[in-house]
Symmetry: C2
Subunit: 151 residues, 2 copies
């Protein structure tokens, strides 16, 4: 568990969901992600609250896509997850009294803010459909038998 992999996992799931008609249960999704149904529900909750997916209980229930992949950017998913911390590094003190430390924090914060802005801009410029298309291209390029994913 070195990284926060929620964004990666949700993108993975959403594209798979688009390729299936029926609702996917948390258990099916969990198997696909090599994880636990509770983790799935926990992570998908944000997407549901933002209206990207719908969840239904009972027989035949599970998770379904609400929006087409073409109307969801990677940034949308990131935001729906609650905008997790991007960086693992940061200042020792957010409100330091020491002017030296303030200057250091300013310099670091400037650079990090730019990098974060670039990252989010990039995420906002890519739709899930584009990633799905890249996958389709690979799929046809290779033999279909080479494709394996527990879904």
């Amino acid at each position: 568990m070195r990284n926060d992999s929620r964004l990666s996992r949700m993108l993975h799931v959403l594209i798979h969901m688009d390729r299936h008609q029926n609702a996917a249960t948390s258990e099916m999704i969990a198997k696909m992600l090599n994880t636990n149904p509770v983790v799935v529900r926990r992570t998908m909750a944000g997407l549901r609250d933002q209206g990207y997916v719908r969840s239904e209980k009972g027989h035949g229930g599970g998770w379904t896509l609400v929006r087409p992949l073409s109307e969801m950017t990677l940034l949308d998913v990131y935001n729906a997850l609650g905008e997790p911390h991007v960086f693992a590094i940061g200042p020792a003190d957010d409100q330091p009294k020491c002017l030296v430390e303030q200057a250091v924090n300013n310099a670091l914060a400037d650079a990090m803010k730019e990098a974060e802005a670039l990252l989010l801009r990039r995420l906002g410029n890519v739709t899930l459909e584009e990633i799905a298309a890249e996958f389709e291209a690979k799929l046809t390029a290779r033999s279909a038998a080479a494709y394996s994913c527990a879904s």
Copy 2:
């Protein structure tokens, strides 16, 4: 301890060291950083190994700057610390078999690689001297009495 604050702390220390003639002991530095001498020695070890600072034992010992601040960029310090993980987010699986997951990872990795490159480029373009200069400017702008830092 939300973040890895080693870079921030080391920059802070190095600038302070430049403003003092004598060697600074780990204990003095620890007080300045509100931390522990062992943490200081542990973190400074990388800087010492890279030749940016020198440590001496015994009476009058402690830490001294080897290079002028003008010859150290923020990137140098980052590298000396062992290039810690920049991002808190990442893929769920580094070598996934699933082609969808591969496509997702590629898209994320591209964006993150760009953002990391920008960040490191920015860090490489700023010397510690420039941060020190910014501090000096603030110091003269405000009354000297407003400056307080336990060093």
